[in-house]
Amino acid sequence: MGCCFSNDEDKDDDLNDPSRPLINPISDGPSSRPIGSNVVDVAALETQGVDQTEYTDRATQYSHNLSSWCASTQKVRGPPRLPIGVATPHVVLSGQPISLSDIQLITSAAQQAARSLQEIKVRHKEDLVVPFGVP
């Protein structure tokens, strides 16, 4: 006897179930089956030893695959945002920092831009909310 809708024929149905595995790796009984099927026995696994040469070869192969994948993927590389740099940094570092004309140019430009932006104001021209389809 069991709970509702169960009888002794359940065993036969279980055996005839097509989804039932042919070989049950857990032979401790039905109570441990749900747990045992989700457990990987690490101690029983074969250890895969990697010698130094194979380790180096794999590292080289993985880094090569990664670099080739990064070079071909636009999403990872992305477009250059700011100027990339200079080929001869000693020439730039030994030169004059910024010319006086550039300082005057950027200073006057910033002041005029600030003045121009202060003049920009929101001018009320029409209602933002317009009744639509309302009689």
Binding site: R81, L82, P83, I84, G85, V86, A87, V92, P97, I98, D102, I103, L105, I106, T107, A109, A110, Q111, Q112, A113, A114, S116, L117, Q118, E119, I120, K121
Partner: protein, 92 residues
């Protein structure tokens, strides 16, 4: 139109020798106006670079001027009253 003045200023800056791009942003790095080679997506980075330069010398009252030099040209940056302007120049 009031925004005509900033567009006119952009035109004037572009007439300077060697200038090939201008970007103007607000305090949050949002681009208000841009002309030439200046990429509009660099507005926030320009503002961030100037914020870092300001943090390096917190005692200095004057707004810093930053010049980023590269083989392609130079980029001059300066802020004034909350706005940031960047001027791209070719190597002359």
């Amino acid at each position: 139109m009031m925004e005509k003045s900033i567009e006119k200023l952009m035109d004037e800056i572009m007439t300077n020798p060697g200038v090939n791009g201008v970007v103007c942003t607000d305090a949050q790095g949002l681009v208000v106006a841009a002309q030439g080679v200046g990429r509009k997506s660099t507005g926030g980075q320009m503002t961030g670079v100037l914020d870092l330069a300001r943090d390096l010398h917190p005692d200095v009252k004057d707004e810093p001027i930053v010049c980023i030099e590269s083989d392609a040209g130079s980029l001059l940056l300066k802020s004034c009253d909350g706005i940031t302007i960047g001027i791209h120049k070719t190597n002359s």
